[in-house]
């Protein structure tokens, strides 16, 4: 192993950007941080600041060609802070170059320690959606993640945008990187010694999503807290052979403990039933033991889209709340919310209250902002998308709403958001 120092030049195998070819190099500026595996340096590439991950304990030989393949194949989606160029083997080791992580992204662990907080449920749902999508794309590329844990995700608490890091541990499915994540995030079959694959990734995904929504661990309740000394042997039990979901309806031995698991105790009843039902199913004994039955990423995306459709701004206290079948009281102030004005979009009903954002398509960015015009006593829809809407009034007048423009909320107006997506404002 060999550490690098300021001014050292490290030559690259591949290319960072075309058309510059072989013979490129980066120059070390300073150390940014270090972990068990290696050191991350700030480096200069052709006048631009980038990051170099340099291995101190270079993993086995298989790792190098695997990294090279991943670089050639490119990132599965923009959720990944993907390796951009491999270095030559030099100074007894090697590394890879990637973009720097922007300052406004915080490690997921910081959210768990309440050092970073989501600005809104809207941002939280955006993060959940982006993580699911990232995993779907990763699996579509034939990879599995291997060591998913709270140190790999960086999230912007304002927008919910996500960057998935440490992608050097991404491997073709069925192969093992030798770099293991934390038992807390591993599927029971991996804790028991199995090879990670897309099914175990799906388990890890459900743990990450649970912790994102409820800010506690799904398997850490009374039973786990009672263990005075969490040795490796106990971890293998609690996250593997004897894992029990904290809200397992058939086994109450591991319920959350008041004063310790405060977040999940508050949020579990407050967030929508569909979320509770999904996690109860995904962490049931059946799903823990049968990896193939776990929910696929697309269905997580659908669930998150459904949650997003039910998220509104309360007109009384201006906080966010979820509208559910048979439940339209605000989870913060408890007052009933008038949900009669809706945008009907196929099978979806989007509630129109002042301040609420609507997501028409599935690109994870808001397309409509509901506003109010107090003088006219009307709600307005603002076009946040990049396309022009075509609207037809009940009397048959045709209007266009260009990006940035607004239109009034009146029952009977039909809106074409694009070729395929048409909706109608209704007063239910």
């Amino acid at each position: 192993m060999a550490e690098l120092k300021t001014g050292d030049r490290v030559s690259l195998v591949g290319r960072i950007q075309d058309p510059v070819g072989r013979g490129q190099s980066v120059t070390i500026k300073k150390e940014l941080g270090r972990g068990g595996q290696g050191i991350v340096y700030l480096v200069n590439f052709d006048g631009k600041d980038m990051a170099l991950k340099w291995y101190l304990n270079a993993p086995d030989n298989y790792f190098y060609p695997n990294l090279n393949n991943n670089i050639l194949n490119g990132a599965p989606s923009d959720a990944f802070l993907w390796p951009k160029a491999l270095t030559e083997r030099q100074n007894g080791s090697y590394g890879y170059v990637m973009d720097l992580r922007p300052k406004n992204y915080f490690e997921f662990g910081n959210f768990l320690m309440a050092k970073a907080k989501f600005k809104s449920f809207n941002a939280m749902l955006a993060a959940a959606m982006k993580i699911c999508n990232g995993f779907m794309m990763l699996h579509r590329f034939g990879y599995s993640y291997q060591d998913l844990n709270d140190g790999n995700f960086f999230i912007d608490p304002q927008t919910g945008d996500v960057l998935i890091c440490d992608n050097d541990n991404v491997m073709p499915q069925g192969e093992k990187s030798g770099i293991m994540g934390k038992a807390r995030y591993m599927a029971p079959e991996v804790v028991a010694g199995g090879i990670p694959d897309k099914y175990s990734d799906r388990y890890s995904l459900s743990v990450i999503l649970f912790m994102l929504f409820y800010a506690n661990h799904p398997l850490e309740g009374a039973k786990v807290v009672a263990c005075p000394c969490m040795t490796e042997a106990y971890e293998k039990k609690f996250y593997g052979s004897e894992a029990v979901f904290i809200y397992n309806p058939n086994d109450k031995s591991n319920l959350p403990v008041r004063g310790i698991h405060q977040n999940v105790i508050r949020r579990w009843p407050a967030l929508p039933a569909v979320l509770r039902d999904t996690f109860t199913r995904e962490f049931s004994e059946e799903m823990l033991r049968n990896p193939q039955k776990r929910m696929i990423e697309q269905n997580w995306e659908k669930l998150i889209a459904t949650l997003r459709d039910s998220l509104v701004i309360c007109p009384h206290c201006h906080e966010e709340t979820f509208i559910e079948e048979g439940k339209n009281t605000c989870m913060d102030c408890g007052k009933p919310i008038d949900t009669s004005l809706q945008l009907k979009l196929g099978a979806r009903n989007l509630y129109l209250t002042d301040g609420t954002k609507l997501y028409i398509d599935h690109d994870n960015t808001a397309d409509v902002q509901v506003l109010s015009d107090p003088k006219a006593g009307l709600l307005l829809l603002k076009n946040l998308s990049s396309g022009t809407w075509a609207a037809e009034t009940p009397s048959g007048k045709l209007k266009t709403v260009v990006p940035g423009d607004v239109m009034p909320v009146k029952a009977g107006i039909k809106i074409s958001f694009n070729q395929n997506t048409k909706g109608e404002i209704i007063n239910a």
């Binding site: 192993m1 060999a2 550490e3 972990g35 068990g36 101190l56 304990n57 490690e107 662990g109 910081n110 768990l112 320690m113 309440a114 907080k117 989501f118 600005k119 809104s120 449920f121 939280m124 844990n149 709270d150 293991m180 994540g181 934390k182 038992a183 807390r184 995030y185 591993m186 991996v190 804790v191 010694g193 912790m211 800010a215 506690n216 661990h217 850490e220 786990v224 807290v225 009672a226 263990c227 005075p228 000394c229 969490m230 040795t231 490796e232 971890e235 293998k236 996250y239 593997g240 310790i260 698991h261 405060q262 977040n263 508050r266 949020r267 407050a270 906080e319 966010e320 989870m331 913060d332």
Partner: protein
């Protein structure tokens, strides 16, 4: 107030890092000075590891032993609250008594009473000599202790007079005994061992085939290559007991 504003930190376990330090007469002068300097410098690093770690908080405890043994604080302290008081060298090497004292505190009624549980502790033993008291009976008591059994145990042998057999018995393997021959190496190895065992000891395990202690040894070994004057114990493994063959 919104539900999100009320979010509190998830419960973290506690991982206590124990420094068990030989302060006998032979440690006087530059050795004890180097230990004091190294521990003071490593504390902020431990604080940083603790602050960034959602799995566990790191606490520090220190036991010095010479003619008698005593704790620097009456309970483990978070790294940022642990103010190191320079230890002084003094006469004998009561390592056996230190083992017994350590055993008495490795319990839930002693130092290990975190409400949200603990990870196994990491214990770093530093010595430059040989015990002058009944080490075997002290160690026998300590080896009955389940916290000790599960602990990451590493020893630093300062110079060739350190009794490596004794340190090997303490750690359970000669691979966990690191020898240093100069003051710079001593400072560096204290930093590397303290940081590495804190990093590995305070995280949810990898559930692999290697124990946390083995992971610490592997990482420290690779770091040792970079430290001049530090080496891994080269003595043959003496951990296995051949008493059955008597």
């Amino acid at each position: 107030m919104s539900l999100l504003d009320e979010t509190v930190e998830i419960p973290r376990r506690t991982m206590t890092l124990f420094f068990v330090i030989d302060t006998s007469g032979s440690m006087a002068g530059s050795k004890i000075g180097a230990v004091n300097d190294a521990v003071v410098n490593v504390l902020p690093m431990l604080e940083e590891i603790s602050a960034e770690n959602p799995d566990a908080e790191i606490k520090v405890a220190a036991l010095e032993f010479s003619t008698t043994c005593s704790w620097l604080y009456s309970e483990p302290k978070p790294a940022n609250e642990f103010v190191w008081q320079d230890v002084q060298a003094n006469a004998l090497t009561s390592m056996g008594a230190a083992c017994k004292e350590l055993a008495s505190k490795l319990s839930r009624s002693g130092f290990m009473k975190s409400a949200s549980g603990s990870f196994a502790p990491a214990i770093i033993l530093l010595s430059d000599g040989a015990p002058t008291d009944d080490f075997e009976s002290g160690l026998a008591t300590l080896k009955q202790n389940n916290w000790f059994k599960a602990a990451i145990k590493v020893a630093i042998a300062i110079g060739d007079d350190a009794d490596k057999d004794v340190l090997t018995k303490f750690t359970g393997t000669n691979e966990a005994v690191f020898t240093v021959h100069n003051i710079d190496a001593l400072k560096q190895i204290i930093r590397v061992v303290a940081v590495t065992s804190s990093q590995i000891g305070s995280k949810s395990s990898t559930a692999g085939d290697t124990t946390k202690q083995e992971q610490v040894i592997a990482e420290v070994k690779s770091a040792v290559d970079n430290i001049g004057g530090a080496e891994v114990a080269s003595a043959p493994a003496t951990t296995a007991s051949y008493d059955d063959w008597d």
